[in-house]
């Protein structure tokens, strides 16, 4: 049995929330979400500071001797809600190569015309060799496979 004590305590707290402005505000702040840390780090750090690792200069679209640095991105779940939007954004705004895999390609119909997108229709739990090969081959792997889309809208 729920003890009457616990029940009364819950009711007292609920009543407090709906009658106290401070309590309601606290609930609202937590519910909506605590503030994001704006511009974390980037503004705070001195420009050009070197860390322990030396990262590739991928922002330069032209590398040494005018060669284009084509970063290779592998996207698992490229046809998903986030995967398809990311694929689209990369192909439109970056000179990178994208290697994508997903069960279908219905959300990838509006991609820009480019030979930088390499898509395989497959299942990561089956096409393991393809995945392993491209993990080695690519500079960045973005795993976006999930059962996440709402059943219907």
């Amino acid at each position: 049995m729920r003890t009457p004590f616990d029940h009364r305590r819950q009711l007292a707290e609920l009543e407090y929330i709906v009658t106290s402005r401070a309590a309601a505000q606290s609930l609202a702040e937590n519910y909506v979400g605590l503030p994001l840390r704006h511009s974390f780090a980037v503004e705070r750090w001195p420009a050009g500071r070197r860390g322990k690792l030396r990262p590739p200069k991928i922002w330069a679209s032209k590398g040494h001797m005018g060669r284009r640095l084509a970063l290779k991105i592998m996207i698992l779940g490229a046809n998903g809600f986030i995967g398809s939007a990311l694929t689209n954004a990369i192909l439109r705004t970056r000179p990178w190569e994208v290697y994508g895999i997903d069960l279908a390609d219905n959300k990838l119909q509006d991609l820009p015309k480019t030979d930088r997108f390499h898509f395989v229709e497959g299942d990561i739990t089956i096409n393991k060799e393809w995945v392993e090969y491209h993990v080695k081959k690519c500079d960045v792997v973005v795993p976006l496979v999930a059962i996440a889309n709402p059943p219907s809208t």
Partner: protein, 164 residues
Amino acid sequence: MPPASEELIYANDDRGFALLSMRSPTVSRLYLQCTPDEDVEEWSDHRIWDELRTRLHLQVPGGPVLQKSVTPDAEFRGRAPAFGRLFLAGDAAHIVPPTGAKGMNLAIADVQVLAQGLQAFYREDSTEGLDTYSSVCLNRVWKVQRFSWWMTSLLHRFDDEDAV
């Protein structure tokens, strides 16, 4: 089905907690407190709608149940979301109880921190943002965990008997 209410409804009922949240004009997500080892097969659509009406004291219109499952409320891993060069964000990194409804907020916050860490790494050659990704994210995750736990304690029945 049309939503029973445009407002989110949390209910603390003698039979246990219930939550009604609208996802779209035609789809709602609904929660009923039950025992963690409850067999989902014992919950017919009819029983789910009846139980919701009882606990919410509201004429919830019925409709097809598109998906149903038993979700453990206490599931939480306070593990670091970064392992070497692997960075996890959102539910992949941490699952919090649904009571606080914070899954999306947390995922967006993770991505914001990670994006700025990656930006600093590639633009400024600085690893500080990526090095501190785990601790910055965990700091927020624990705050959300605190809030979700508080919401749970406020709205659930806690006893040795079955909730229903």
